[in-house]
Amino acid sequence: MTTDAAVLEVTDLRVRLGGVDVVDGVSFALAAGERLGLIGESGSGKSLTALAVLGLLPAGARVTGSVRLQGRELLGGSDRELSRLRGRDLAMIFQEPSTALNPLMRVGRQISEPLRLHRGYSRQAAARAAVELATAVGLPDPQRLVRSYPHELSGGQRQRVCIAAALACRPALLLADEPTTALDVTVQAEILALLGRLVAEAGTALLFITHDLAVVAAVTRRLAVLRRGRVVETGATDDVLRAPADPHTRALLAAARLTQWNLPAAGSAAARTSP
């Protein structure tokens, strides 16, 4: 790392698509090992912000501002430069693990692909690493599972595969875009716990993108609320969720509470309490 303590520093990021600034001057920073939640409704620009960081914006998008990873400017970098970084220094997991995986490739190869590409692992070393990684993300019977294809796995198992591949090279930064939205709620709880544990172990900074305030509360300490391409509020997750300053955040929170009001409090595991 250079003089810059931030792993990721996004400054005045603007993405223009079809004549509209869909990301309109977004700035935030992430320190090593830190977890930041990026919250917003559909169309708020949260996913495009992530894609801009990755250099994966759709063709025709115009992007300005600055995205620095460990002090190094990513905007305007060539495809070759960026693909050297992706999977090694920064990685991503998406909402839909079934489309993120290659249906024709055994999952073991997909898990260890970053190691072969970026770390020069031999075929044998990669195969061994795939089993280790599959074990680390809690996949059942890893020896056998690495030889299966994505369609043979459940949604939760596929997302575990994506997480294993994303963390294979111990990247400095992991972007997770609604990684549990497509999963059942019991599976979601497992995946969130796993993700939290692994990024802590690897010292990876996490940018967690979601529309779900309760999910972000479970994973991050700090959050930024996006609306129409702008950050309308940032702060410690607990503070923002307890006492939101921005009216839009308040409205979001009130809406989220509507389906929570009569659930027993967290941790009480449905012990006592009534609405």
Binding site: A189, T259, L263
Partner: protein, 276 residues
């Protein structure tokens, strides 16, 4: 709040139930995995019994593959059970020719998850909302009824001439609800009616459903993977897993004292916001 409406007794005694499903079983044949072996069988619904009292709200919660959608299809007479019966006000509901179930469709209407898919893109809002009135041969002034139900879902009747794509997801779901309300049903079935919507819109639509149910004394059957959504609107909850109802009871009881381990796990897994 809406969830604690007067308990119309979903239980055993008292008023005759609106809906009564007894011993429902439905299995599907799976694709053959070997040319010689017998094809596998998935038991989507196995021995489900439930009842809905007049004006009551029942929530069916389950994760993917739990059989909740199959159960809904059976309740709506869109599919035949292998065993068991569905009765509506004592009358059997049997999937068959559409005409034979016309009486039932007037009484029971459904709202699906994705209004973008459930509304015909080439049909104006007015035509879409009026369609069930014509199909079901509902007497009265259809035009007037369309205006009425559009107003009931907080839409301006002037939207009649417009097409579904001109609306946001929340507005489209309002249109779908208006269409369901048009024939004056006594029961509204919602199959994940808010899952495709943003949080803030979700809350509005849930409130709308709650108000409509109260105002028109509608029975509600709400199917969702989201316990919070169901708990908000329903006074009775049924938890479904592996094709069976593992737990059934009053919402407050199920939430505060879930008996089945799966119901407990499901409840514990719901991510919570910190208290305000």
């Amino acid at each position: 709040m809406t969830a604690v409406r007067e308990q119309a007794d979903g239980g055993a005694t008292g008023a005759e139930p609106l809906f009564e499903a007894t011993g429902l079983v439905r299995s599907y044949r799976l694709a053959r995995t070997s040319p010689f072996g017998p094809p596998g069988v998935r038991h989507a619904v196995r021995d489900v019994t439930l009842r809905l009292a007049d004006g009551a709200a029942l929530g069916i919660v389950g994760e993917s593959g739990s059989g909740k959608s199959t159960l809904v299809r059976l309740l709506l007479g869109l599919d035949r059970p292998d065993a068991g019966t569905v009765r509506y006000r004592g009358r059997p509901v049997v999937a068959g020719r559409p005409r034979a179930l016309r009486w039932f469709r007037r009484e029971v209407q459904v709202v699906f998850q994705d209004p973008a898919a459930s509304l015909d893109p080439r049909m104006t809002v007015g035509a879409a909302v009026a369609e069930p009135l014509a199909c079901l041969g509902v007497p009265g002034d259809h035009d007037e009824r369309v205006d009425e139900v559009l107003r009931a879902v907080d839409l301006d009747p002037d939207v009649r001439g417009r097409y579904p794509h001109e609306f946001s997801g929340g507005q489209r779901q309002r249109i779908a609800i208006a269409r369901a309300l048009a024939p004056r049903p006594r029961v509204l079935v919602g199959d994940e009616p808010v899952s495709a919507l943003d949080v803030s819109v979700r809350a509005q639509i849930l409130d709308l459903l709650g108000q409509l149910a109260e105002r028109h004394r509608l029975g509600l059957v709400l199917v969702s993977h989201d316990l919070g959504v169901v708990a908000r609107l329903c006074d009775q909850i049924a938890v479904m897993r592996g094709g069976t109802l593992v737990e059934q009871g009053a919402t407050a009881d199920v939430l505060s004292r879930p008996a089945h381990p799966y119901a407990r796990a499901l409840l514990a897994a719901v991510p919570r916001l910190p208290p305000p």
